[in-house]
C-alpha cells in the first residue's frame, strides 16, 4: 500500500489543466450517434403493452388477433416467452423482479406483452389487438399505507411490504441521549424525484442465429446490465454483448437492467431480425426509474459546549414495485451520513418498503435528506446553545484519518476548510440575520459523497492498453462515459503516465466483449476504481516501453527518461540520440513482443494500518471499510422569498468543493454547475403526483414535472480545497456530487433566515412555503392580540 501514498503532484504536465471534453466536437456537429439514431438493415420496431392497473393478477393473454396483422413479425408475453427462473435483483435476497411478468403486475405501466413489426404504426395497432384478462387487486401508493396492518401485499412473501432492513448500531445511543445536556429531534421527508433524462430510453437488439445477443442501449453499468440479462435470459455472459454508445443523460437512472432489453432480445430472437424499442416521454417517466421517497427521523444529543454525544436515525425508503437498486439506497445514506459529523454513539435503522408505484433506483444526490437534517439541526442548536453556527460545525466536522461509527477510515477530509471557505467568501457571518427586512436570507449546508462502495468482486476494474506501430495506443475499460468527461479523464491519465499527447490515446469503453469486468459508472467509481486501473495499465506499459528504449540506447531501463516525447539516456537528456515511442513500438513488434499494458485495481478493504481490524465489509455486523474515498464540500446560498407567492428565488451560491486534486478545473466546474442545478430542481421545483384512485402517475412530461431552466440559474462561485487524497489517482476524488449534497440544508436554513419559518419536507414548493408563512403570520397576530 505504501506505493499508493505516492502521488507525483509536482511533476505532472496534464493534471490540473483545463481540457475540453473528448467527444464534444461530434456532439456539437450533431454527428454523435445515440441509440435512437441507430438503424440496422431489416430492423423492426417494438412496442410494449403496459398494465392499466396499479396492481392486478394476469389471468390470460390472447395474442391471436395481433399475430394475424400483416407486418407483425413477433409477439411475446410473459406467460409464453419469459425464461422461467430468471428473476432480476441486484443482490440475491432482493431478486423479486420478473422483467416480463406472467403472474402479477405491480405498478401502472408495467410490461405485459410486446410486439415487433415493420413500422411503429403497425406495432401500435398490434398492441391494441392483444386481449389481457386481469383480476384487479387493491394497491398501496404510500409507505404509510403500505406498512399498515392488513395492507395489500405488493410481493406475497414480504409481510408489511418490507423489502429489506439495514441496521448499524455502535456504542450506546440510548444512554448517550439520556445523558446529553440537550437532545434535538425532528423528522424530514423528501418526495419521489424523477431523473427526467433528456434521451428517451432506446434499445436495439440484433440476435445472431449462433445464439448471441448484440445490444445497443444506454447504460452506465454495462457489466451489471449484462449480469442482469444473463440471469433473466438464461444465456451465457459471452453471448450477451453490450456495445458502447454516447447517451443522453444517466444520473443514476441507467444503472439497472431494463425490462425492455430482455423484451428486445426475446423479440429479436423470435423474429430473427434486429428490433428497436424506443420509449415515449411518458414511458420514460412512468416506466423507467424514479428516486425513492424518503423519511428521516433523527435525534441528536449535545453537550453544553456543542459536542455531539450521539445520533439516532430511523429511515424509511420507498422502493416502488421492486427492490431494484433502491436496495443500494438503503445503505448509501449511511455511507454519507456517518462521515460528515462525528458521533461516538450512533444508530442507523433503515427500512425499504414496497409500494405499487414506478420502481425506484439510484440518483445523483440521493442521500441529501441526511445532510439536510444535520444542517438544519446544527442551525437550530446553535441558537439554543448560543454557539456560533460556524464554530458548532467546526467542532463536530469529521477530519482526515478519523474512523466512522461503522469503521470506515476517512483518508482525506477538507470538510472544515470548506466550511470556512464558503462562509468567508459569501460573507455569511456579516449577512446572517441581517437580510430579513428584504425577505432575503443566507444559509449554509455541507455534504459529502462516497467514491465507490464495496461490491465484492465487482468492486474492481481491469484495464488494458494496446499500442500501434506509430506509438499511438488504445485504452480498454469496462467503464463508460455519461458525458461528464470520463473519456477525457482516461486519456489524460494515460497520456500523463506515458508522456505523450492526449490525441495519441483512444479509449474503447463499456463494450462487454472487448473490455474486462468493471463496476461501471456507478457510485462514482470511474475515478477511484477505473481510472486507477488505467493508470496502473499505463505504468505497466511505460515500464515495457522504457525497457525496449533502454535496449535501443544500450542502457538499462532505469537510465532512460522521456523528454519532449522522446526517450533519452538520463544524463544526456535532450542531447544525443532520442528514440521515439513509435520506434520503440516497432522494435517491440519485430522482437515478437508487442508493447501492451495491463492494470487492475480493487477497492482496498484492509485498513489494519489504521487500526481497523476488519477484513471484509458487509459482514454480519455490517462493519468495515465500505468506501475508497470521500469527497466533501460546503455551499452557502443567498435567496429571496416572495412572501405573496411563497416562491424562492436563488440569487447566489458559493460552493467550496473538497474533491482532492482537481484533475480538470473547467470540467469539474461544469459538473458542479450541473449538480447545483439538479439539486435546485429537486429542492424547489420538481414534484411527482399520483392519482390516488387509479395509481396513475400524473407528472409524466416536462410540462408537469418542472425541471430547472436557465431562468432558475443563480450566480455560482466555485472554490477548490486542493487537498489530495493519498490513495486515489493523482490525489483526486469525486468532484461533482458531494459538495452539493449540502444545498438543501443551505436552502432550508436560508428560508428560515429570510422569513422565519422552518421547512423540513423536500421539495420546498411555493404553496407549501406560503402555507407556513401564513400560519406564522396568523400566529403572530394571535399572540399580539
Amino acid at each position: 500500500m505504501s506505493n499508493d501514498r505516492f502521488y507525483e503532484f509536482e511533476k505532472t504536465t496534464l493534471i490540473g489543466k483545463d481540457l475540453p471534453r473528448v467527444g464534444s466536437v461530434d456532439k456539437a456537429m450533431g454527428r454523435a450517434r445515440y441509440a435512437g439514431d441507430m438503424v440496422l438493415p431489416g430492423m423492426l420496431y417494438g412496442k410494449t403493452l403496459r398494465s392499466p392497473h396499479a396492481h392486478a393478477r394476469i389471468k390470460s393473454i390472447d395474442t391471436s388477433k395481433a399475430e394475424k396483422i400483416i407486418g407483425v413479425k413477433a409477439v411475446v408475453t410473459g406467460i409464453h416467452d419469459t425464461p422461467r427462473g430468471g428473476v432480476f435483483g441486484i443482490i440475491p435476497h432482493t431478486r423479486d423482479h420478473i422483467l416480463l411478468p406472467y403472474d402479477k403486475v405491480r405498478y401502472m405501466g408495467e410490461e405485459v406483452a410486446a410486439v415487433a413489426a415493420v413500422d411503429e404504426d403497425t406495432a401500435e395497432e398490434a398492441i391494441e389487438a392483444i386481449k389481457v384478462e386481469y383480476e384487479p387487486l387493491p394497491f398501496v401508493l404510500t409507505w404509510q399505507d403500505a406498512m399498515k396492518e392488513g395492507a395489500p401485499l405488493v410481493h406475497d412473501h414480504r409481510p408489511q411490504n418490507m423489502a429489506a432492513h439495514y441496521l448499524v448500531n455502535e456504542g450506546d445511543v440510548d444512554a448517550a441521549l439520556r445523558n446529553s445536556d440537550y437532545v434535538w429531534e425532528n423528522e424530514f421527508t423528501c418526495d419521489v424525484a424523477s431523473h427526467a433524462l433528456p434521451e428517451p430510453f432506446t434499445v436495439v437488439c440484433d440476435y445472431e442465429p449462433s445464439g448471441k445477443f448484440n445490444f445497443w442501449m444506454q447504460t452506465q453499468c454495462p457489466f451489471q446490465v449484462r449480469q442482469g440479462l444473463h440471469n433473466t435470459m438464461k444465456a451465457p455472459s459471452s453471448d450477451i454483448r453490450l456495445h458502447s454508445l454516447p447517451m443522453g443523460g444517466a444520473h443514476g437512472g441507467r444503472s439497472d437492467t431494463p425490462p425492455a432489453a430482455l423484451i428486445a432480445g426475446l423479440l429479436s430472437r423470435k423474429a430473427a431480425r434486429p428490433v428497436q424499442i424506443k420509449f415515449s416521454r411518458e414511458e420514460v417517466e412512468d416506466c423507467m426509474r424514479d428516486k425513492a421517497a424518503k423519511v428521516w427521523k433523527m435525534k441528536v444529543g449535545f453537550k453544553k459546549d456543542g459536542t455531539i454525544t450521539g445520533r439516532d436515525i430511523y429511515m424509511l425508503l420507498e422502493a416502488g414495485a421492486y427492490a431494484s437498486s433502491a436496495i443500494v439506497e438503503l445503505w448509501v445514506p449511511l455511507l454519507i451520513d456517518e462521515v460528515l459529523w462525528r458521533a461516538p454513539n450512533y444508530r442507523y435503522d433503515a427500512f425499504l418498503i414496497y409500494t405499487n408505484k414506478t420502481i425506484s433506483s439510484m440518483m445523483r444526490t440521493r442521500a441529501h435528506v441526511g445532510p439536510m437534517a444535520m444542517d438544519v439541526c446544527l442551525d437550530q442548536v446553535s441558537e439554543v446553545l448560543g454557539i456560533d453556527p460556524i464554530e458548532l460545525r467546526l467542532k463536530n466536522a469529521m477530519l482526515t484519518n478519523e474512523i466512522t461509527p461503522s469503521k470506515s477510515v476517512i483518508t482525506s477530509s477538507a470538510l472544515s476548510e470548506s466550511i470556512v471557505m464558503a462562509a468567508e467568501k459569501s460573507g455569511y457571518k456579516e449577512k446572517r440575520g441581517k437580510l430579513s427586512h428584504l425577505k432575503r436570507g443566507i444559509g449554509i449546508g455541507s455534504g459529502n459523497m462516497q467514491s465507490m462502495f464495496y461490491m465484492g468482486f465487482r468492486a474492481g476494474s481491469t484495464a488494458f492498453i494496446k499500442f500501434n506501430d506509430d506509438g499511438s495506443c488504445t485504452v480498454f475499460t469496462g467503464n463508460c462515459d455519461l458525458g461528464q468527461g470520463n473519456q477525457t479523464m482516461y486519456k489524460q491519465v494515460t497520456a500523463e503516465v506515458l508522456g505523450i499527447d492526449m490525441e495519441q490515446v483512444k479509449v474503447c469503453f463499456g463494450d462487454t466483449e472487448l473490455c474486462y469486468q468493471d463496476p461501471g459508472d456507478y457510485s462514482m467509481s470511474a475515478l477511484v476504481i477505473s481510472a486507477h486501473a488505467i493508470k496502473k495499465a499505463a505504468e505497466d506499459a511505460n515500464r515495457r516501453l522504457l525497457e525496449v528504449a533502454g535496449d535501443i540506447l544500450d542502457v538499462s531501463w532505469e537510465e532512460v527518461e522521456m523528454r519532449d516525447k522522446k526517450y533519452y539516456v538520463r544524463f544526456r537528456l535532450g542531447k544525443g540520440r532520442g528514440v521515439s515511442i513509435g520506434e520503440v513500438c516497432r522494435t517491440a513488434f519485430k522482437r515478437g513482443k508487442p508493447i501492451f499494458g495491463f492494470g487492475d485495481y480493487r477497492a482496498r478493504i484492509d485498513y489494519s494500518d489504521f487500526g481497523v481490524d476488519i477484513k471484509e465489509p458487509y459482514n454480519e455486523k455490517t462493519y468495515g471499510q465500505k468506501v475508497t474515498a470521500y469527497s466533501f464540500g460546503t455551499t452557502v446560498v443567498e435567496i429571496e422569498v416572495d412572501a405573496e407567492t411563497g416562491k424562492v428565488k436563488v440569487l447566489d451560491i458559493w460552493a467550496a468543493n473538497d474533491c482532492g486534486t482537481v484533475l480538470n478545473p473547467m470540467l469539474v466546474k461544469g459538473n458542479m454547475h450541473g449538480q447545483l442545478s439538479f439539486m435546485l430542481g429537486q429542492g424547489l421545483l420538481e414534484k411527482n403526483v399520483w392519482d390516488s384512485k387509479t395509481g396513475s402517475k400524473l407528472t409524466s412530461d416536462f410540462r408537469t414535472y418542472k425541471v430547472p431552466t436557465v431562468n432558475e440559474t443563480p450566480n455560482i462561485e466555485c472554490y477548490f480545497m486542493n487537498k489530495p487524497d493519498p490513495y486515489t489517482p493523482y490525489g483526486a476524488k469525486e468532484g461533482s456530487l458531494g459538495f452539493g449534497c449540502g444545498l438543501h440544508g443551505a436552502l432550508s436554513n436560508a428560508i428560515y433566515d429570510a422569513v422565519g419559518v422552518r421547512v423540513y419536507d423536500v421539495p420546498f414548493t411555493p404553496d407549501s412555503l406560503l402555507k407556513l408563512i401564513k400560519e406564522k403570520e396568523a400566529g403572530e397576530k394571535k399572540s399580539s392580540k
Partner: protein, 158 residues
C-alpha cells in the same frame, strides 16, 4: 396519405413523398437521415428538436413536415463547414458547454437564431433565447458563456 413536398435543407434541394401526419422532426431524422436534431419530449416542452425555418426558430416536433413546403431549413448538420466547426459550435466545445450532448444541437441552433437576430446579444437576451430549452447536465452557466463568447468572436457578423 402521402404528398410530395419540396424544401431546402442545409442548402440542398429535396423532393420527398411524406405522409401528411408526419412531423418535420420525423422526416428530417428518418427520411433524410439527419439525426442531429433530437427527440426528447415530442410535445414542445424541451427545445431539443429546434431547427431554423425561413430564418425563424421552430420546434420540429410540433411542425408538420408539409408545413415546410417550399421553405428553407437549417439543422445542426448545416452549421459546420465540412469538418470545420461553426464559431458557435467551437465556443460550445471550448467552454465545456457540452456534457452528454443530447440537448446540445437544440441549444446551438437556438444560439444561431439569437445571434442571427441580435448580433451582439446581452446576457439577458441570450437567456431569453434559450429559456425554453432543457439541459440536465450543465446547469446552463457554460452554455450562456459559450453563446456570449461566440457572439463576441463573430464580431457582430452573422
Amino acid at each position: 396519405m402521402k404528398q410530395e413536398m419540396k424544401f431546402i435543407v442545409n442548402g440542398e434541394h429535396h423532393a420527398v413523398q411524406v405522409e401528411t401526419h408526419r412531423t418535420l422532426l420525423e422526416v428530417l431524422r428518418e427520411t433524410l437521415g439527419l439525426t442531429g436534431s433530437k427527440e426528447m419530449c415530442n410535445k414542445g416542452d424541451c427545445g431539443g428538436c429546434s431547427v431554423i425555418m425561413d430564418g425563424k426558430l421552430v420546434l420540429s416536433c410540433l411542425t408538420l413536415a408539409i408545413e415546410a413546403q417550399a421553405k428553407e431549413i437549417t439543422t445542426i448538420e448545416g452549421l459546420a463547414d465540412g469538418n470545420v466547426l461553426h464559431p458557435i459550435q467551437q465556443a460550445f466545445v471550448d467552454h465545456g458547454a457540452i456534457q452528454c450532448g443530447y440537448c446540445s444541437p437544440g441549444f446551438i441552433i437556438a444560439a444561431k437564431a439569437i445571434i442571427d437576430k441580435t448580433p451582439n446579444p446581452t446576457i439577458d437576451e441570450i437567456k431569453e433565447g434559450i429559456s425554453n430549452h432543457v439541459c440536465r447536465c450543465t446547469g446552463y452557466v457554460q452554455i450562456v458563456e459559450a453563446i456570449d463568447a461566440a457572439a463576441k468572436n463573430m464580431g457582430g457578423s452573422r
